[in-house]
């Protein structure tokens, strides 16, 4: 359903990514691992179609949702409006419901700057979950959250993945998170970064099964 | 200047004149300086050109100049408002109303319902006199029954030529150009003034000085008047005196140059003091026509308006 084949991605003179390719079917979840600054967010931006300046091809569905590494909210619109503007087909009740699910039931009428950073991140999560994405892209979605809240969010993500069966691509530094959510992992390493050969798309479920 | 002249010149009082650079008064001032009429009358003329009439008045009021040019109705208003301005006649040239070459109009009445372009604004003297004339002659309310377009002189000039307006009232050097371009004078303000029983020989335009300045230089009024007369006499009689002025006259053709020279000569007033009674009659008419807007609060000609020149 989505197929990614990136030959090279440069920033100016610097080559950042080289030969990264994978496929992902609906319902599948791929975790992207790699150390800070390796090129994970860059990869996600290429996949999402934000950045077209690279060599290679990406096939992606139309309906996408994204959680950036930073919340990226409309600071001048209330929390609830941040959902409704992005998803015009969403009813207000459904939006409030979604806010409640991420623990922001009582913050619907606040401006983003009136929320703590963790709350802003959850708002950004709610925004991604409120649509019907066929491809869900999450860039470190659960940082800045305490353990309990993070667990809630992971559970919520799992529910969503089960209900809507999007293809999911997500970045994390926590092996544990990857294990809980992902079918497979893809680790980036090197300079320019490329897929680590020996563990090329490790398949957890199978691993676990074996 | 010869060295001897220089020595005397530096001793003479200086009269600073703020004038519109393209104004006709420049022709006279230029002639005064060129022929030394200023030093001959015991002063040295220094001309500061400005690009706008308002600017010359600001210069006079602000003390940057000692003399400017205006009409005496304006001066009367200022005097009534407490300024110590006095008036020395310079020109009686007045305008008229011109219509396009192919216009069928023969009298003001024929302009009924049409547009008239007016350069001087709603209190333009020519416009006021023509209104009075239309009223008296035909019982026709010119202001009410025509549409007026007030605008900058060049725009009125152009609108007149293009036929956008059916009649135009403009400043006289523009009128000269309009006539040179084939427009026809429907009626001159002079004709209208005579019909209204006014003395057409009363010069409207003149030099304005401050009394305070004249107190310091008591001879200056007569000196300026003397120099002005000398220049006028020369310009009236001697065509050659015009040649050096020609580059500044902005006359593209010989015909235009001729018209300008003729009109200037026609505007030279008779020598001597202004006929105060005639001026008072004139002023009363202006008060009744222009009202407060034109003359401010005054109803009668303020005393001491005209400098004594004899």
């Amino acid at each position: 359903m989505i197929s990614v084949d990136i030959k090279t991605k440069n920033y100016g003179q610097t080559r950042v990514l080289k030969d990264v390719s994978f496929e992902l079917q609906r319902g599948q979840c791929l975790a992207v691992l790699g150390k800070s600054g390796i090129g994970k967010s860059t990869l996600l931006r290429l996949v999402a179609g934000i950045d077209h300046d690279f060599e290679g091809t990406v096939r992606r569905p139309e309906a996408m949702a994204i959680v950036f590494q930073e919340p990226t909210l409309l600071l001048w619109r209330r929390a609830i409006d941040n959902l409704l503007i992005i998803h015009p087909q969403l009813s207000e009740a459904a939006a409030r419901d979604m806010l409640a699910k991420v623990g922001l039931g009582d913050k619907a009428d606040m401006y983003p700057k009136q929320l703590s950073l963790g709350q802003q991140r959850r708002l950004s999560l709610a925004r991604a979950f409120a649509g019907h994405p066929e491809l869900l892209i999450l860039d470190e979605p659960f940082v800045s959250l305490d353990e309990a809240t993070a667990a809630d969010m992971i559970a919520l993500t799992q529910t969503l993945m089960r209900e809507l069966t999007p293809a999911t691509l997500f970045v994390t530094h926590e092996k544990e998170e990857a294990r809980q959510l992902a079918d497979r992992t893809l680790e980036l390493a090197g300079s320019p970064a490329t897929v680590v050969p020996d563990c090329k798309i490790t398949e957890f479920r199978r691993e676990e099964a074996s | 200047l010869s060295p001897a002249d220089k020595a005397t010149a530096s001793d003479l009082p200086v009269l600073r004149a703020a004038v519109l650079k393209i104004g006709t008064v420049n022709w006279e001032l230029d002639t005064i300086k060129r022929n030394g009429f200023d030093t001959a009358n015991g002063f040295e003329l220094s001309v500061v050109p400005y690009a706008d009439n308002g600017a010359t008045r600001v210069a006079l009021e602000g003390g940057e100049a000692d003399v400017a040019v205006a009409d005496w109705i304006w001066v009367a208003r200022q005097r009534a408002a407490g300024k110590d301005y006095v008036f020395i006649p310079y020109s009686k040239a007045v305008g008229g109303l011109v219509v396009p070459k192919d216009s069928t109009a023969t009298t003001l009445e024929d302009l009924r319902g049409q547009k008239i372009g007016i350069a001087g604004g709603p209190v333009d003297k020519s416009w006021l006199i023509l209104q009075a004339f239309a009223q008296k002659e035909y019982g026709f309310d010119l202001a009410a029954e025509t549409e007026q377009v007030f605008g900058a002189p060049p725009l009125i000039f152009k609108a007149g030529l293009s036929g956008e307006t059916a009649g135009s009232i403009n400043f006289w050097h523009f009128l000269a150009k309009m006539k040179a371009a084939g427009m026809r004078e429907l009626i001159s303000v002079e004709t209208a003034a005579i019909a209204l029983g006014l003395n057409p020989d009363i010069p409207l335009l003149g030099y304005v000085l401050k009394e305070s300045y004249l107190q310091e230089h008591p001879e200056m009024a007569k000196a300026l008047y003397g120099a002005s007369r000398a220049a006028k006499d020369l310009l009236a009689s001697d065509d050659a005196a015009w040649e050096p002025l020609r580059p500044d006259m902005n006359a593209k053709t010989d015909a235009a140059f001729e018209t300008l020279r003729q009109d200037f000569r026609a505007g030279i007033p008779a020598p001597g003091n202004i006929d105060v009674d005639g001026a008072a009659t004139f002023f009363t008419l202006m008060v009744s026509l222009g009202g407060e807007k034109l003359v401010g609060g005054v109803k009668e000609l303020p005393a001491g308006l005209f400098a004594d020149l004899e």
Binding site: R45, F68, L75, M110 | N53, R77, G121, P122, G151
Partner: protein
């Protein structure tokens, strides 16, 4: 202190300064004291002149303002977001930005005729480049992350403009409108004295020719009073709502 009280005191202070200057100057024909304006003001008000000319001017200002603002915002936004277009149009912008008002006004009057369409066109043409210049800077500073977000979520163009772009441009629009309306009204003054037969500019120029400073001030201040009320009754409340998120 409550805002209206501050405003009143502040204006009072301005009035006092004026009283003082008038007293020091000592020449009512140069700067009349505020008290000397009451009578002429009343007179013009009763005669209906003031209201008539003010209405004409305001109508022109409004027409030119909205034309210039709309066109300027669109142009500035396009130039700010499309560097290629910007490169092509920039020379034109500089030329029109610096074309003297007089030239544009005279050309408009000569081509379109001595009428209000020409007047309003001239004023709008005068101000469009100025608005575009300011808005262009704002458009260049738009947050690229929000743009990315909109791309991924396939936000509709109109929604993008309304909820993403306009709020980010709000300070630029506010600045351009405020200083823009002031410039427009000043150009309207020129337009009116060059070729219209009514309006504040016509009156101001008339009284300036007559050197009647009191009347010039009466007419100038009437418009300023109007602008103050628009500022307080319309602009500032709207701005407060739009900027609420900053202060929350």
């Amino acid at each position: 202190m409550a805002t209206p009280i501050i405003r009143a005191i502040s204006l009072m202070a301005l009035l006092c300064v004026w009283f003082l200057l008038a007293a020091i100057g000592g020449d009512p024909t140069v700067l009349p004291s505020p008290a000397a304006l009451v009578e002429p003001f009343w007179q013009e008000l009763v005669s209906g002149e003031l209201v008539y000319h003010l209405t004409m001017t305001v109508a022109r200002v409004i027409a030119a303002f909205f034309t210039a603002l709309a066109a300027g915002i669109v142009l500035g936004f396009l130039m700010g977001t499309r560097p290629k277009l910007d490169k092509w149009l920039d020379p034109w912008l500089v030329v029109f930005l610096n074309l003297p008002a007089l030239v544009l006004i005279v050309l408009c009057y000569l081509w379109i005729g001595l009428n209000d369409i020409a007047a309003v066109t001239a004023v709008a043409l005068n101000k469009i480049p100025g608005v575009a210049t300011i808005i262009r800077e704002g458009a260049r500073a738009l947050d690229p992350e929000l743009k990315s977000m909109a791309t991924v979520f396939r936000v509709r163009p109109f929604t993008y403009l309304r909820h993403f772009v306009v709020p980010q441009l709000a300070p630029f629009i506010a600045g351009a409108s405020r200083s823009g309306i002031a410039v427009i009204w000043k150009v309207v003054l020129v337009v009116e004295f060059l070729g219209r037969s009514n309006g504040i500019g016509f009156q101001i120029h008339l009284y300036f020719q007559l050197f009647d400073v009191a009347m010039v001030l009466v007419y100038s201040l009437s418009f300023i009073a109007l602008m103050l009320s628009i500022e307080w009754l319309l602009l500032q409340p709207v701005e407060k709502r739009v900027q609420a998120w900053r202060l929350a």
